[in-house]
C-alpha cells in the first residue's frame, strides 16, 4: 500500500476546514452512532479534534466505528468536513492492515457477476444459517446482516432481450447509470427507472459500466476506488457528450457528485464533467416538474407509506426530491422517517463487530416503518432498503416504483 495520510490530494483541503470548528458540538448531537455506543468517540472528537494530533501515523483505531453516514458534515454550521476527515484518517489507519473481508465486500461487481448465474444457489446459501455462521467466523460478515438477493437476470441481460421501446423519443437522449447494485441485484429498480424515463419521452442510453468504487472508498481503499471511479467516468462519458446522466442508485450518485473529490481528492476533468451532469432519478423528476415539464396525470394510490431519506442522499444537499414528487400522486400519503440513518451505511452494518451498533442506529427507523405501514416502505438507496427490509420485515422499494405504478406502467 502506498497510501499515506498526508499524501492525499484532498486531505490538505479537508484538513484546512478544521480551522472553522468552534467546538459547538452540533455534529455530536447529529451523529447516529455515538448516540448508541460509547465505542465511537463522536465526530467532533474523531474529526477536527483528533486531526490536530495526526501526522500520517494512525493511533486511534476506534475511528473505524464511524459509519461514514456524513450526518456530521451535513449538520456542521461552520463548514467543517468532518466525515471527510474521518474517512481520510481511516484510509491511513487501514493502509497497513486491510482485512480480507473489507477487500472482499467492496468487490461489488465481482459479487454480482458470480452470483447471478447461480442465483437460486446463492440465495439459498445466503439464507443458510450454518453457512452464514461459518462466513461470520471466517470472514467477519455478521450472520444476520442483510445480503443482496441474487437475481437470475442482469440489467444488461434484460436490455438485450427486451423488445425495443415503442414510444417515440420526443425529448432526446439521456444516459442511465445503474451502478453495481442496479445492474445485478436491484435490477427491477433500474428497469422501472428506464421505463419511466422512456414513458416521459427520453431515449435511454445505458453504456456498459462498472463500479463507482464507493464501497472501496468507505473501506479506505482509496487507490482502487480512485481508479474505479475514473474508469466509470470514461464509460458514462461514452454514452454521449453533454447528456444528462440519471441514476436511481442514490449513494453511487453521491460518490460521483462529491465524495470522490472531497474525500479522496480525485481532481480530474472527467470526474468534474460527470459529477456536474449526473442527477438522482427523483431529483431529475422534480427538476422536470419545477420546469413544468412533468406530466402529472398520475393514477391515485390510496396508501400511507413511510419514506426514509438515506444519509448518503441527504449529504448531496438537494433536499428530499422524492417527497416532493410523491406528493403529486393523488391519494398517497408519505410519512418522512425523520431518522438520520438506517445503520447499514454501505458495508458498515454487515461487519461482525459493527452489526449490533448498526442495528441500534436503525432501531427507531425500523419501529417507525412497522408502525406506519407493515407492508411497504420507500427508500432511495439499495443497501438501506436491504437493511430496512431485513430488520423490520417490511418490503422496501425505491420511490420510483410508486411513480411507475402511478403512471400505470405496473
Amino acid at each position: 500500500m502506498t497510501t499515506k495520510g498526508l499524501e492525499f490530494a484532498g486531505h490538505e483541503l479537508s484538513r484546512a476546514t478544521l480551522d472553522a470548528c468552534v467546538k459547538c458540538t452540533i455534529c455530536e448531537t447529529a451523529c447516529p452512532v455515538s448516540a448508541v455506543t460509547p465505542l465511537f468517540s463522536g465526530p467532533k472528537f474523531v474529526g477536527p479534534q483528533a486531526e490536530r494530533f495526526r501526522n500520517g501515523e494512525s493511533v486511534d483505531h476506534s475511528l473505524d466505528y464511524c459509519s461514514s453516514c456524513g450526518a456530521c458534515t451535513l449538520a456542521c454550521p461552520q463548514g467543517v468536513q468532518i466525515a471527510e476527515l474521518n474517512s481520510q484518517a481511516r484510509a491511513v489507519m487501514k493502509a497497513d492492515h486491510m482485512p480480507v473481508r473489507d477487500q472482499l465486500i467492496t468487490r461489488t461487481t465481482l459479487m454480482g457477476m458470480m452470483m447471478t448465474p447461480v442465483a437460486p444457489l446463492a440465495n439459498a446459501a445466503l439464507h443458510n444459517k450454518p453457512i452464514r455462521a461459518i462466513v461470520e467466523k471466517v470472514i467477519g460478515i455478521h450472520r444476520d446482516a442483510p445480503m443482496p438477493p441474487a437475481q437470475t437476470q442482469t440489467l444488461q441481460g434484460w436490455l438485450k432481450k427486451r423488445k425495443a421501446p415503442t414510444r417515440k423519443a420526443t425529448r432526446g437522449p439521456v444516459v442511465f447509470f445503474h451502478g453495481c447494485a442496479g445492474g445485478y441485484f436491484e435490477v427491477e429498480t433500474s428497469k422501472k427507472s428506464i421505463e419511466v424515463l422512456e414513458y416521459l419521452g427520453y431515449e435511454v442510453i445505458v453504456p456498459k459500466q462498472g463500479c463507482c468504487g464507493l464501497a472501496q472508498q468507505s473501506n479506505g481503499l482509496f487507490d482502487q476506488a480512485s481508479a474505479a471511479v475514473l474508469k466509470l467516468c470514461d464509460e458514462l462519458r461514452s454514452g454521449g457528450k453533454d447528456l444528462t446522466i440519471i441514476s436511481s442508485s442514490g449513494s453511487c450518485t453521491g460518490m460521483l457528485k462529491h465524495e470522490a473529490h472531497e474525500i479522496m481528492g480525485v481532481s480530474d476533468d472527467r470526474l468534474k464533467d460527470v459529477g456536474t451532469r449526473i442527477r438522482d432519478m427523483m431529483e431529475f423528476l422534480l427538476d422536470l416538474h419545477d420546469a413544468g415539464e412533468l406530466p402529472t396525470d398520475f393514477q391515485a394510490i390510496d396508501m400511507t407509506v413511510p419514506y426514509h431519506a438515506p444519509c448518503q442522499l441527504k449529504s448531496q444537499g438537494m433536499g428530499q426530491p422524492a417527497v416532493e414528487v410523491l406528493k403529486l400522486i393523488p391519494g398517497l400519503t408519505v410519512v418522512e422517517s425523520g431518522a438520520v440513518c438506517c445503520g447499514i451505511a454501505g458495508t458498515y452494518g454487515l461487519k461482525k463487530e459493527k452489526y449490533e451498533v448498526a442495528q441500534a442506529v436503525g432501531k427507531p427507523l425500523f419501529d417507525m416503518v412497522k408502525r406506519t405501514n407493515p407492508d411497504l416502505a420507500l427508500c432511495d438507496t439499495e443497501t438501506c432498503r436491504w437493511q430496512i427490509e431485513q430488520s423490520s420485515g417490511v418490503k422496501t422499494e425505491h420511490p420510483v416504483w410508486m411513480v411507475h405504478r402511478a403512471y400505470g406502467l405496473s
Partner: protein, 525 residues
C-alpha cells in the same frame, strides 16, 4: 519568618536556572531555586519552542552553531519526552538569494552542523503546504521542545538530588558580609511569609531581570537588553518539520510545529521593561506576511494566540546597543569579583533554550573554580526521569493515550485532549497553582477554543475535589479567561473571531461571569 541555609541560591526559574540548580545539586551542593512566579513563566515559556540544529547560526554566529548542534543531540537524549525530533528545512524562497545556500552549506560543514541539500521536489512532497516557488532546500536536525516540560524535568531532577524549588518566592534583598554575598531574602507571595536563606554563593539566572537582581546585591548595573519578540500560534500543524528561511537571520523567518500548533516568529525590538511587553499590531501583520512567504495562504489559516517574550541579551560592545538581533547569542558569565569587587555571585546572560544545559555547566564550573573545588559536571550523561523518559515526544501521543482510556476517562480540555485524571493529578501536585500554572504543564485551554469550553469544567472539578473554595474558584476562572484574552486581542480576525464570539456568548450570555460575586481583592496568583 522562615530561615534556610544552603550552599547555593539560584535565582530565576527559567530554563537556565532550572539547568543550573540541577547541575549544582548533582555536583553535591545543597541548593534552593527561587522564582517570583511559576517555573518557565518568563522567557522560557514565551518563545518558539525551537530546538536549534545550529543551522540558524552557521553563517552569523559559528560558535553558537556548534554549541547548538552538540546540545541538540544531548537534550534529545537526556530529555527525550520534552523533545520532538521533527527535523527541519532551510528553504530559499522566491526573491531570496539562492547563493546564500552555498554559504550556509559551507558554514554548516565548518561548524559541525549536520546539513544536506535535498531536491525541492522532495521538500514539497514532505511538506505539501510549502511555497511551491522555493528554489533550494537544505535538511537539518532541528527539533521542537516543550519549554515547560524541559524546565520541570530539570527542576524535578534537582529535587531528586536534594534541591528545593520555591516558586512564587520573590527576592527582596541580597545581604553581604563585607565583599561577600551572605544571604538572600525573599517573600512567599502565596502566604506572605518572609524567607531568609543563608548561603555561600548566589547564581543569578534571572534572564532579562538579571540586571535587577545584580543591583540588589550592590553590583554595578549589568547591561541586559531585553529584546522583545512576538510569536503567533496557528491552529494546527501547517508543517511537520521546522521550516526556516534560507537567509541571514531576520524577523519572522521560522515556522515551528510544536505540539498541535505551528508557531511563526519572531520579531526583535529593544525594550526597557521586560515586565511590559506589548504585542504591536504592525508586528502581528509582519509575522503574517512572513508566514505567507513560507506557506502561501497563511493569512487564511486560523491564528489562535499571540504572545511576546524578552530575550536576555547581555550587551556586547561590538554592535550598536539598539541592534539586539546581531548581538552574540553566545552566553556570557559575568564575574562580579573582577567587575564589582563582589564575591560569591555570578550572573549569566545570553544563550538560548537549546544551550541551557551548557550554560549551566559553564556557570557552575566558574563557581567551582572560585570555590577552589573540582567537581565534575554530569548533566549530559544522566537522563532526566519522567514519563516514557527514553521516548521522544510525537504529536500523536495524546491521541494514543485517549484512545486507550476513552471508555473510562472524561476529557476536560477537548482541544488539547487533557483528561480529568491528568488535571486532578496535576492539581494535587500543585494545589495552590492557578489554572495558568496547570496550563503550562497540561496545555489546558491552549487549543482552538482558548478556554471556552474547558475553563468552567476545570473550575468545577477543582472546587468539587476541595482544592479551592468558591471565592478562589470564581477568581481563578476570571483570571484564566483574562489571561487568555491578552493573547487573543492581537489576532482577532478570521476563524478565531467566531470562536471568541461563541465563547463570549457562553461566558457572558449564559453564565454571566461578569456578575459573579466580587471578592474583596481579586485573585491574582
Amino acid at each position: 519568618m522562615r530561615k534556610l541555609a544552603v550552599d547555593v541560591v539560584v535565582i530565576g526559574g527559567g530554563s537556565t536556572g532550572a539547568g543550573v540548580v540541577r547541575d549544582v545539586a548533582m555536583r553535591g551542593y545543597s541548593a534552593v531555586l527561587l522564582d517570583r512566579a511559576d517555573l518557565g513563566q518568563g522567557t522560557t515559556g514565551r518563545f518558539h519552542g525551537l530546538l536549534h540544529s545550529g543551522g540558524r547560526y552557521v553563517v552569523s554566529d559559528p560558535m553558537s552553531a556548534t554549541e547548538c548542534a552538540q546540545e541538540n543531540a544531548i537534550l534529545a537524549r537526556i530529555q527525550a519526552s520534552a523533545i520532538e525530533t521533527t527535523g527541519g528545512y532551510f528553504v530559499t524562497c522566491p526573491g531570496d538569494d539562492p547563493a546564500f545556500a552555498d554559504k550556509f552549506l559551507a558554514g554548516a560543514a565548518a561548524t559541525g552542523v549536520p546539513a544536506r541539500e535535498i531536491a525541492v521536489a522532495e521538500a514539497l512532497r514532505n511538506e505539501p503546504r510549502l511555497n511551491p516557488g522555493i528554489m533550494r532546500a537544505v535538511e537539518v536536525e532541528d527539533g521542537t521542545v516543550d519549554g515547560w516540560q524541559l524546565v520541570w524535568g530539570a527542576a524535578n531532577s534537582a529535587k531528586a538530588y536534594g534541591a528545593q524549588v520555591l516558586t512564587y518566592h520573590a527576592v527582596t534583598r541580597i545581604d553581604r558580609e563585607g565583599n561577600r554575598v551572605s544571604a538572600v531574602h525573599c517573600t512567599d507571595l502565596k502566604s506572605g511569609e518572609e524567607v531568609v536563606i543563608d548561603c555561600n554563593f548566589v547564581l543569578n539566572c534571572a534572564g532579562p531581570w538579571a540586571g535587577q537582581i545584580a543591583h540588589m546585591a550592590g553590583a554595578d548595573p549589568v547591561d541586559v537588553i531585553p529584546g522583545r519578540g512576538i510569536m503567533i500560534a496557528m491552529n494546527h500543524r501547517l508543517v511537520n518539520r521546522v521550516v526556516n528561511r534560507m537567509i541571514y537571520p531576520a524577523d519572522g523567518d521560522i515556522l515551528v510545529p510544536v505540539h498541535t500548533v505551528s508557531i511563526i516568529g519572531t520579531t526583535d525590538v529593544k525594550v526597557d521593561d521586560p515586565d511590559n511587553l506589548a504585542i504591536e499590531q504592525d508586528e502581528v501583520q509582519q509575522m503574517l506576511d512572513a508566514g505567507e512567504v513560507l506557506i502561501p495562504g497563511f493569512r487564511n489559516a486560523r491564528a489562535l494566540h499571540a504572545w511576546a517574550g524578552a530575550r536576555p541579551l547581555i550587551k556586547d560592545k561590538r554592535v550598536a546597543a539598539a541592534d539586539t538581533r546581531h548581538m552574540s547569542r553566545g552566553m556570557a558569565v559575568i564575574d562580579h569579583t573582577e567587575r564589582d569587587g563582589l564575591d560569591g555571585m555570578l550572573t549569566i546572560g545570553g544563550g538560548k533554550l537549546t544551550t541551557y544545559r551548557l550554560m549551566a555547566e559553564h556557570i557552575v564550573d566558574a563557581m567551582c573554580e572560585k570555590l577552589g573545588e573540582t567537581r565534575e559536571c554530569r548533566t549530559a550523561k544522566e537522563n532526566i526521569p519522567g514519563p516514557e523518559a527514553t521516548r521522544n515526544y510525537v504529536v500523536t501521543h495524546r491521541l494514543e493515550e485517549r484512545e486507550h482510556d476513552r471508555l473510562e476517562e472524561q476529557i476536560i480540555c477537548e482541544c488539547e485532549l487533557m483528561s480529568r485524571k491528568m488535571f486532578t493529578e496535576a492539581l494535587a501536585n500543585q494545589p495552590k497553582g492557578t489554572f495558568d500554572d496547570l496550563r503550562r504543564q497540561l496545555r489546558l485551554g491552549m487549543g482552538p477554543c482558548q478556554g471556552g469550553f474547558c475553563t468552567t469544567r476545570a473550575t468545577g472539578i477543582a472546587l468539587e475535589t476541595d482544592h479551592i473554595d468558591i471565592e478562589r474558584a470564581n477568581g481563578l476562572l476570571r483570571l484564566f479567561l483574562k489571561n487568555r484574552w491578552i493573547g487573543l486581542w492581537p489576532i482577532l480576525y478570521g476563524d478565531q473571531v467566531r470562536q471568541t464570539a461563541l465563547d463570549n456568548w457562553i461566558f457572558q450570555g449564559t453564565l454571566d461571569v461578569e456578575h459573579l460575586p466580587q471578592p474583596e481583592s481579586e485573585v491574582a496568583l
